[in-house]
């Protein structure tokens, strides 16, 4: 079974209901009149629409009408004789999942699903049609217009647009290969596995992070990992005793993260991050698109909460960071990262005992200087 990831919220509800033993799964042939189908779907948590032949397109209208007219909010799955080239059509008319007769073609389905960046016409998915983009976003780099465009798109669609349209060839993902990183990495692997992934190897990382970085990159098929290390001469001069983290953690972050990134960032107009509002602190007001020192940060997961992250891991069977199970909810360098105590915020284990909450790579340079 292959997921089309349309509406994670409703799916989560459906999954919870199904696990609790409530609700039914109903199978309806694609040729069924939509009114009759709506009757049969009443009370169901999942409706499977069966396609007798991939050439018989009645199931597309049926799905559209179940969503649009009957207001069916449960899980909608396409089953039967379907081909990967229909992935986008299925997703756009409101299907969440597809279970094709030939289930050996997951890669083809994943590619087809992300094939087209834009759609001319409105449909039952939330994608903004091109004519509305044109009205909303005359200037491609205008932040308000970009945020308006991305409002209502799911994370995958935002990434699709950012990578394949808005900043084609000039965008990278910034990843810590930390506790939640697999979500965003999995998404870009589906859209374009050769998207540059910038990884800051501070020289102070947990051995588990390094292992996880290699294993996850390989599993997801990411082909363009850019490892950034601190300048060795600077490191010898500023941190000869390896205790800079203790004496001045801001200076340590500047040496090991901020400056290496600043040196490499010229290659990109935009960086994708995995930051989320639920991380708390300054991140509570995180927009989807922001500009930091003249460069764009795209935060497609800004609105995601922990539950949604967990559901995503579960749905795609993604491996966890080895330290996740040990209570580390946010993972940075070993000297400055501790497990989260009960009821603590996700990032409460970072720089514990200090008022520092960010390393500085997401903060404008002038503010760092002023502080």
């Amino acid at each position: 079974m292959l997921q089309l990831e349309r509406n994670p919220q409703s799916r989560k509800r459906v999954e919870a209901q199904m696990e609790a033993g409530g609700g039914a799964v109903v199978e309806i042939p694609g040729e069924t009149d939509w009114r009759e189908a709506a009757e049969r779907a009443r009370g169901a948590v999942q409706v499977d629409i069966r396609f007798a032949s991939f050439k018989d397109g009645r199931g597309f209208s049926l799905a559209a009408l179940l969503r649009e007219r009957a207001g069916f909010a449960g899980k909608l799955r396409a089953v039967g004789d379907l081909i990967p080239d229909q992935a986008m059509h299925l997703k756009r008319v409101g299907f969440d999942d597809v279970a094709p007769d030939n289930d050996n073609l997951d890669d083809d389905w994943a590619r087809a699903r992300a094939r087209f960046t834009h759609a001319y016409q409105p449909a039952q998915d939330k994608r903004t049609p091109v004519f509305r983009h044109r009205q909303a976003a005359p200037a491609g780099d205008d932040l308000a217009a970009l945020n308006a465009r991305y409002r209502g798109l799911d994370a995958m669609e935002i990434l699709d647009d950012a990578i394949r349209n808005e900043w084609t060839g000039r965008i990278a993902m910034l990843s810590s290969f930390g506790a939640e990183a697999a979500v965003g990495l999995h998404m870009i692997a589906q859209i374009a596995p050769d998207t540059p992934v910038v990884f800051l190897d501070t020289g102070r990382l947990f051995a588990q992070t390094e292992q996880y970085q290699r294993a996850l990159s390989e599993q997801l098929g990411l082909t363009n990992i850019r490892v950034l290390a601190p300048d060795s001469a600077e490191a010898a001069a500023e941190d000869g005793d390896d205790r800079l983290w203790q004496r001045n953690p801001d200076a340590c972050c500047a040496l090991r993260k901020v400056r290496p990134l600043a040196r490499a960032i010229g290659d990109y107009d935009a960086l994708i991050t995995g930051r989320k509002r639920f991380h708390g602190g300054e991140r509570l007001a995180l927009p989807v698109v922001e500009r930091i020192d003249g460069r764009i940060r795209v935060n497609p997961l800004a609105a995601w909460d922990a539950e949604r992250v967990n559901a995503y891991f579960k749905r795609f069977d993604l491996p966890r960071h080895p330290l996740s199970d040990m209570g580390y909810a946010s993972i940075g360098c070993w000297p400055c990262t501790a497990p989260v105590e009960d009821d603590g915020d996700v990032r409460s284990g970072r720089w514990r005992g200090r008022d520092k909450t960010e390393c500085g790579i997401h903060v404008p340079a002038e503010r760092i200087a002023a502080e």
Partner: protein
């Protein structure tokens, strides 16, 4: 004309990648032939008798110089030096190798062209009046609406696997030159009493095995409701059109079975639910698209020349059309040299038309449903220069609308569906009409030839139609009389039993001669035929057979 922005470019580029991937998956077996076939068709790739054929979309028949030059390049490099214009204003290349098709699509994409939805059971390339934006009898330019429909219908998620192909035409002039009554949906631009423009909506027309004229289901549709109304029609059709019988799957069969009134009622019922939604066209988008189709202007209007070199005046009389802007004219470039293949054009000729369009035609040319080209905007003072160049290129045949301006499908010389040859019949008729000196005396008449009942050559709506049939392994040709394309659209009737191919030209020449004998003064062929009835011509068809 319309200019792509980043969104349009991205979609076409992504489509090419998709097609490359589909070809690769067909070759390594991940796609079966049964699965690949509809996918390649939706990219215009047919498997014909001798080779693959690529049908390139010319949205509403509009071309500019760089596009014409690209078509020339494709003809030269990937084909055998020519292309073939079709009755749906597309162009076909008959000899490309399948492996070259993605590269050809790359060339096309660079000049904002593609082969998307030129075949398959989806919404096909939208057609319009070839004189749109130029014609003197225009109510409103149909091209912006055709472009809006093109975008809406491209990769439509709900309507890509329809029961059968689906063709939409838009006409914005008083004269219907788009053939709205022989399309699945025909849109006629009209003005209401308040002077606002809107659409008459006609559905259920089509030719083929069961020719039907479209019925009007709405007198006035407001422009902002265009896409929701089309969606409603397509929804009714997608759910209820027949899928059990290929020959009964077109919307015309559904409209006939339900009755136009009931079909209209179901459409309106669906429409009422979606009218006030996402599909409502923003005025700003309509204005944005319209702005691409500006009317050319001339600073000092010159009159149409009354004389010139020998042959020029005759060409003007036959091939010039009145323009809505004083000082401009439209001219038909006939692709019907006497005895030639209707609609064929060489690579060099395409280059010459590109030059003329750029230098004298505001960088525009059009393809017509009669398989000719049009330069829609030519300054009157440039007409003779243009004519000179066309003469040198073998493109100045002064026969637009005459008996030698024959429409013909590719027939059994190319097409895997055909029962009989059609091009050689067209050539023989053209040669005989010319030899008998009949074209000018007879004047306006349409002759259209098909090699099978699918009727790509539109024989059903020809004044004189010829249909090739296969009878126990032999080619026979049925003659139909009285069809018409346009405001007075009608389906021609079969006159009698089929003729052998070699008897067809003689029979048609005798029909034309009979007309000359029995016509009232200044009466056109079709008017005489309607006055006296087809039976009056029957004898002339069979007298020598």
């Amino acid at each position: 004309m319309y200019k792509y922005d980043a969104y349009d470019h991205a979609l076409v580029r992504e489509r090419i990648e998709e097609f490359r991937d589909q070809v690769a998956r067909r070759l390594d077996g991940r796609l079966t032939e049964d699965q690949f076939k509809p996918l390649r068709l939706m990219n215009g790739v047919y498997l014909q008798l001798h080779a693959y054929m690529l049908r390139v979309a010319i949205p509403y028949g509009t071309l500019n110089g760089p596009q014409l030059r690209t078509l020339a390049h494709i003809a030269r490099r990937y084909d055998r030096g020519y292309g073939h214009f079709t009755t749906r204003t597309n162009i076909q290349f008959n000899w490309p190798a399948l492996v070259d098709v993605p590269d050809i699509l790359d060339h096309l994409a660079k000049v904002e062209m593609h082969a998307i939805q030129t075949s398959g059971n989806c919404i096909r390339n939208v057609t319009a009046d070839p004189f749109a934006g130029a014609a003197a009898d225009e109510i409103e330019d149909s091209r912006p609406w055709a472009e809006i429909i093109r975008q809406w219908s491209t990769f439509h998620p709900e309507f890509t696997f329809l029961p059968r192909k689906f063709k939409i035409a838009v006409n914005g002039a008083r004269d219907d030159r788009a053939g709205i009554r022989v399309h699945d949906i025909g849109l006629q631009i009209v003005k209401n009493e308040a002077g606002e423009t809107g659409f008459e909506v006609w559905v259920g027309g089509g030719q083929g095995r069961t020719p039907r004229l479209a019925q009007k289901i709405r007198d006035f549709l407001e422009p902002r409701d265009l896409l929701s109304y089309l969606t409603a029609i397509l929804r009714v059709y997608n759910q209820h059109g027949r899928r059990d019988n290929l020959y009964k799957a077109r919307i015309k069969i559904l409209v006939e079975a339900l009755g136009a009134e009931e079909f209209g009622r179901q459409t309106e019922e669906e429409w009422a639910q979606i009218r006030e939604g996402e599909l409502e066209l923003p005025a700003a988008e309509i204005a944005r698209i319209r702005a691409f189709f500006d009317r050319p202007s001339v600073s000092k209007a010159q009159p149409v020349p009354v004389s010139g070199k020998p042959g020029f005046a005759g060409w003007l009389r036959r091939n010039r059309r009145a323009h809505q802007v004083e000082g401009l004219s439209s001219v038909v470039i006939s692709l019907k040299p006497v005895g030639g293949t209707p609609g064929d054009i060489t690579d060099d000729q395409l280059d010459i038309v590109a030059d003329l369009a750029e230098r004298y035609g505001f960088d525009e040319a059009r393809a017509t449903p009669d398989q000719n080209l049009v330069l829609p905007h030519v300054r009157n003072e440039d007409l003779e220069t243009v004519w000179d160049a066309l003469v040198a290129a073998g493109l100045a045949t002064a026969n637009a609308g005459l008996a030698t301006d024959i429409v013909s499908c590719p027939g059994l010389d190319y097409c895997s569906l055909a029962n009989a040859r059609s091009i050689p019949i067209a050539q023989a008729i053209s040669n005989l009409v010319e030899a008998e000196g009949l074209a000018e005396p007879v004047g306006d008449v349409t002759i259209k030839i098909d090699g099978c009942i699918n009727a790509c050559g539109h024989h059903h709506v020809a004044h004189i139609g010829v249909l090739g049939v296969d009878k126990r392994g032999e080619e026979f040709y049925q003659i139909t009389l009285g069809g018409a394309f346009g405001n007075d659209a009608s389906i021609g009737g079969i006159v009698g039993k089929g003729l052998a191919g070699e008897d067809v030209p003689g029979a048609i020449v005798r029909v034309l001669k009979t007309y000359l004998e029995i016509r009232d003064e200044n009466e056109r062929f079709i008017d005489t035929l309607r006055r006296v009835g087809a039976d009056a011509f029957k004898e002339s068809i069979y007298v020598a057979a």
